[in-house]
Amino acid sequence: MSNLSVFLKGNIGSLFLNFEHTFKNDGITILYGPNGSGKTTIISALGGFIKNIESRIIFNGNEFKDLDKYPPYKRPFGIMFQNPILFEHLNVEENFDFVIKRQKSNSQNKKLISKNYLINHLELTSLLKRSPENLSGGEKLRVVLARTILKQPNYLLLDEPMSDLDIKYKAKLLIFLKDFNKKFKIPILYITHSIEEISQIGDQIVLIKDGKKIDSGSVTNVFNRSSFVDLIGKFEISSVLEGRVMSYDQILRITTLDLDGQKLIVPGLPGNLKDIVRVRIRSRDILLSSTRLETKITENELQGIISSIEIEDNSAFSELVIKLQNLKNNKKIQKLRSRITTYNLKKMKLLINDSVFIYISSVSIDRQAYQLT
């Protein structure tokens, strides 16, 4: 199976789209950018719904250039639009049958995703005979997701699927998507505005602004780049760290991660022993000190070296990037961003290449740390 290569160029309304990217054919790729930057247009164009633009889409050895030869209904994508729609004249099960009847038999070498698998994992049993008009927002979303997957797509395109969902459901659905992605090896392109969702399920991320790609790469890398910081705004700046589960305490419900030799205690039980887990830490939640503090005020103490300092103009704050100490010499460098007041920076007299002690309260670590392997 080959990657999904996309080139799109042209005016759509007031937007000039000039986008080129090759999406990986595994994992979950996040498409992130401000409103009106062209994210939805890219998904619509992949689906074959945008006319009058220059487009070159190559997937699985097929070039979807000609809309007549590859009209929307012949394309192998499963698309969930921003405003998910169920056919109101059919009940939930009939909505499923609609797509099952039209399934193409082009997926011989793939595991077929069964209706029962989706009904079980998305908890749809009690909804099957219901009419769409009697479903809540969350129920409707699960049904639409199941119907999209029942198409047996070769690539799943989801446009802000969770924007209307409450947090409890969101966590469940994110875990479902991640598991689904791994189990059936169906790549997912995922549009979202939520930093949390990105850090939880994203493998790759593509940043887009004003119709142009401005950066792309793995989520852990891109999170530390200025291209991303510029998009999300300073207040939400955070770092994503990866660590291996060393131990967990079932009673206190905490997990200790090994961050290249240093320890990090995170709340919850995000993975099993030896699993690699990803956590997100907001820059404003980090305390720094140039000397070791004899304190038990936070659970975590890490060590690192300041690699850059940026004093912001017209603001009270400074941005520091700290390279975490790697005690394992495995050449992996994890970076942590810290945001402190310039007042404090001056008081502590911190300079580039100083070593610092980092104190992080486990409460501020994103509770839904996510299992990677």
Binding site: N83, F87, R102, T148, K151
Partner: protein, 230 residues
């Protein structure tokens, strides 16, 4: 004897009127439905132009349409000649001339409710259908039509009722020939002209009741669907 004669003549007019309304609605379904679809989803630049043409019969005096149709249907025109070759009859003053006139006259009544109903379905539903593997016709028959039941019902009822009530165009194009093109509306006119108010009462009252029932069923049905959706 006279009353008896009147009665059978009126029954003939009633049957012609109903036949005209049914046949007109049949052709409106064939012509007006794709037109409504086109106006709702496809056209962009040409839309105002086509909408204007479709809506014209609503605002023009029936005599204006009737006048142009008489000219258009005359044996000298291509259409008139073709009709004579096919049937041996003139199109003007024939039943099928009446059907053709009714289709034109009632077209906005078919197209507008259906177009509104199609537009309510929206692009997202159609895109969803396509993305699930349904082609254009598949989507039309299995998604759009079932979702527009109310629109079809409204279009049918209003076009049917409207065709029943035509007078001006029918008189000009059909000539009110007994047994051929004389519909209820013309019969009533004739009765009143001859001061036969009794017969006029029967037909006029019948039309009133029938129209009332038709419209009531329309509003009742539409109200019920609205309640069910909520």
């Amino acid at each position: 004897m006279d009353i008896f004669h009147h009665l059978s003549s009126d029954i003939t007019a009633i049957l012609i009127t109903l036949k005209l309304a049914v046949i007109t609605c049949f052709f409106l379904a064939l012509i007006g439905t794709p037109l409504a679809y086109f106006l709702a989803f496809k056209s962009k630049k040409t839309k105002p132009f086509i909408e204007t043409i479709v809506t014209l019969p609503l605002v023009l005096p029936p005599t204006v349409i009737g006048f142009y149709l008489i000219i258009f249907f005359s044996p000298e025109t291509a259409l008139g000649k073709i009709f004579i070759i096919l049937t041996g009859e003139q199109l003007i003053f024939s039943f099928y001339g009446l059907v053709l006139a009714s289709i034109i006259y009632s077209l906005p009544f078919w197209v507008q409710p259906l177009q509104a109903s199609f537009e309510k379905i929206g692009r997202d539903t159609i895109w969803t259908s396509h993305s699930l593997g349904a082609g254009l016709l598949d989507t039309f028959f299995n998604v759009i039509i079932p979702l527009s039941k109310k629109g079809f019902f409204t279009s049918f009822i209003i076009s049917f009722a409207h065709t029943l009530g035509e007078f001006g165009i029918v008189l000009m194009v059909g000539g009110g020939i007994h047994g051929k093109t004389k519909v209820i509306a013309i019969s009533i006119y004739d009765h009143v002209e001859q001061l036969s108010f009794g017969e006029a009462h029967i037909l006029a009252g019948g039309m009133l009741i029938l129209s009332f029932i038709i419209l009531l069923s329309l509003f009742y049905f539409n109200k019920r669907t609205v309640v069910r959706v909520k």
